[in-house]
């Protein structure tokens, strides 16, 4: 059902959303523009994770590493070299993809949970290096005062830049998911033995998927630095990886825009519940429990089932 052609009403609704997003800075105060940029970035990160998680069925438990490396890649280019900071936007996805390739070469032959745990242990190794390597990464303080290119440094500028880049990335990812490669990738998720039997190199496809997802996470990392002006080791800590996993779950990981929706809900909750209570992680935990118990396909998954009478996602998986 992912390869359904886009229908006309979908196009119209999509165009309206995009239009609304482009008009946003004119309509709302600056804080909401900033929030929207953060949501787009986190959503892009979660969507890139979902490419391997939801569409590839791979337990990528430590996706944040590529986000963090992308952020550091950009921040280092912008602060430690005389290169124009635009170069950072090219470097970020490249270093993230390279790291993903290296980690993937080691982990891709492992199955399910082993794969996930190996990703965590390799990722923690990368985190430890970033955390410790003072002269290069600034250690636990991180890198501060990163100046993005002049054109995108204001709140509105960085928002438009983030929005444009995110839309392009989403479009690219959508195309990849619906390409022959993407279909093979989902075939591997649903039935690796059969896919392998028809002559597909399962490992190579999975590796390619990991590298692509890593690159997009790297892009998200460079956008984060653009908006926030700093990079720090927590961006590649394992708890962030779990948080974006939760976003995928929340939105529904069998739907392309599910993670983006999950990111929006999580970020909004975090900001506005945090105003009223110090105990918002507990509230988040309870919400998450309820979703797991009653809405395993995520919020958008429920909508989808209710509106189209589709079968529950489990049967699809």
């Amino acid at each position: 059902m992912h390869n359904n052609p886009l229908t006309r009403p979908t196009w119209i609704a999509g165009a309206m959303v995009v239009l609304a997003l482009f008009l946003l800075p004119a309509a709302v105060p600056r804080f909401y523009v900033y929030m929207a940029a953060l949501i787009l970035i986190t959503g892009l990160l979660a969507t890139s994770l979902n490419m391997v998680l939801g569409f590839g069925g791979m337990y990528q438990f430590h996706h944040a590493v590529f986000y963090g490396i992308g952020a550091y890649g950009f921040a280092l280019i912008a602060t430690k070299t005389s290169l124009p900071s635009w170069v950072g936007y090219l470097v970020a996805p490249v270093v993230a993809a390279l790291l993903s390739l290296i980690m993937g070469l080691i982990t891709v032959r492992l199955s399910k949970l082993y794969f996930g745990m190996m990703q965590i242990s390799l990722g923690s190794l990368v985190w430890a290096l970033v955390f410790r390597w003072y002269s290069f990464t600034g250690g636990d303080d991180g890198i501060h005062g990163v100046c993005p290119p002049e054109a995108v440094s204001s709140t509105t500028g960085s928002y438009y830049f983030t929005l444009s880049v995110t839309l392009v990335c989403l479009w690219l990812m959508y195309r990849i998911v619906h390409s022959p490669f993407g279909r093979t990738f989902q075939g591997i998720r649903d039935n690796p033995e059969r896919t392998s039997a028809v002559g597909v190199d399962v490992r190579r496809h999975q590796l390619a998927g990991l590298v692509i997802a890593g690159a997009f996470a790297g892009v998200a990392g460079s956008l984060f630095v653009t908006v926030e002006g700093c990079a720090f080791p927590e961006l590649l800590f394992w708890t962030l990886s779990l948080e974006i996993l939760v976003m995928c779950l929340l939105g529904g990981w069998f739907i392309f825009l599910g993670p983006m929706f999950g990111a929006a809900v999580m970020m909004t909750l975090r900001t506005f519940v945090g105003i009223y209570t110090e105990y918002w992680t507990m509230i988040m935990g309870v919400v998450l429990m309820l979703i797991i118990l009653f809405l395993p396909e995520g919020v958008l998954g429920l909508f989808k089932r209710k509106t189209t009478g589709d079968k529950p996602a489990e049967e699809e998986a």
Binding site: R109, M117, M118, A128, V246, G285, I292
Partner: protein, 298 residues
């Protein structure tokens, strides 16, 4: 000046002993994690929170009982039981409805438990640092080759094998242990012969969490009991279980040894990057034995 220049045989020996007493804690915590993972297939991230709750409970019980020497032993006996009780409620209340879900769902569910538990700890115990004392005869140090070695570490060294023995007896000599092992391999078959698998799972889960609580109780006198003590242990415990072989308790012992000793030796030879040593050991093990050192249950 290089730290490595100071390595003497005595320092090395002492460092290994320290590494081994650390191994005890790691083994106790990760064997519980491994048990739950092997039999119930739950990657329980909340295991670290239970460890932390165990430490806080130990502090509370010891404080309530008062300054008598028996306070610590009472706390050591009852705090893990209290943790087991919490886990029993969670298992019967929620977990038992989720066993047919994917690993990923279970993992995320335990993550949500972590979020709730951590805020509960903050709500109940507040933010002050807590400290607990071992009984008098376990305070102070022995001298080993002229270097001090804390008595409490020796106590930990003796506790480790006892717990290992207990676990062996439990899994090999009791009915529930045998059923649990069988259920880990093939749960359909076990339920086909008329055993209520659900209750077996409940017991295994409770025992696993008891071990987390016991680890927390044992570590309490050596540490600052505070929020956040779950963070480091949980990732270490997972790595240990993975390198040992998922669900294999002896694998957890082996993994804990590797982790504890590489960490201790790392401190001695290259302190600046000691933090990297255990992770590197894990990567090396997994590159050569992707399924862990010992036979995984599944």
């Amino acid at each position: 000046m290089e730290f490595a220049a100071n390595i003497t045989a005595a320092a090395l020996f002492q460092q290994i002993l320290v590494g081994l007493s650390r191994t005890t804690i790691l083994f106790i915590v990760s064997s519980g994690l491994s048990l739950v993972l092997g039999v119930l297939r739950i990657p329980n991230i909340a295991h670290g929170s239970l460890y932390m709750i165990g430490a806080f409970m130990t502090w509370s019980i010891a404080t309530v009982v008062g300054g008598s020497p028996a306070a610590f032993w009472l706390a050591l006996a009852f705090a893990p039981l209290a943790v087991a009780l919490v886990s029993f409620v969670v298992e019967r209340g929620i977990f038992c409805r989720l066993y047919d879900r994917e690993h990923l769902m279970l993992l995320l569910f335990t993550f949500s438990l972590t979020l709730v538990f951590n805020d509960l700890v903050k709500l109940i115990w507040g933010s002050d640092y807590r400290s607990l004392n071992a009984p008098d005869f376990l305070q102070g140090s022995f001298s080993i080759f002229g270097l001090p070695f804390p008595r409490y570490n020796l106590f930990l060294l003796l506790t480790g094998p006892l717990v290992a023995l207990g676990l062996w007896l439990l899994t090999n000599r009791t009915k529930i242990g045998k059923i649990a092992r069988a259920a880990a391999v093939d749960r359909e078959m076990v339920s086909a012969v008329g055993i209520n698998v659900s209750w077996v799972f409940a017991w295994v889960f409770v025992i696993g969490c008891y071990l987390a609580g016991l680890g927390g109780a044992l570590v309490a006198p050596t540490q600052n009991i505070t929020q956040g003590m779950d963070h480091a242990i949980i990732i270490e415990a997972f790595l240990i279980v993975i390198i040992g072989g998922l669900g294999n308790i002896w694998g957890a012992l082996l993994g804990a040894l590797i982790f504890g000793l590489t960490d201790a030796i790392g401190i001695l030879v290259w302190p600046q990057f000691a933090i990297v040593f255990p992770y590197t050991a894990v990567v090396i093990v997994l590159v050569f034995r992707p399924k862990g050192l010992l036979k995984s249950v599944w």
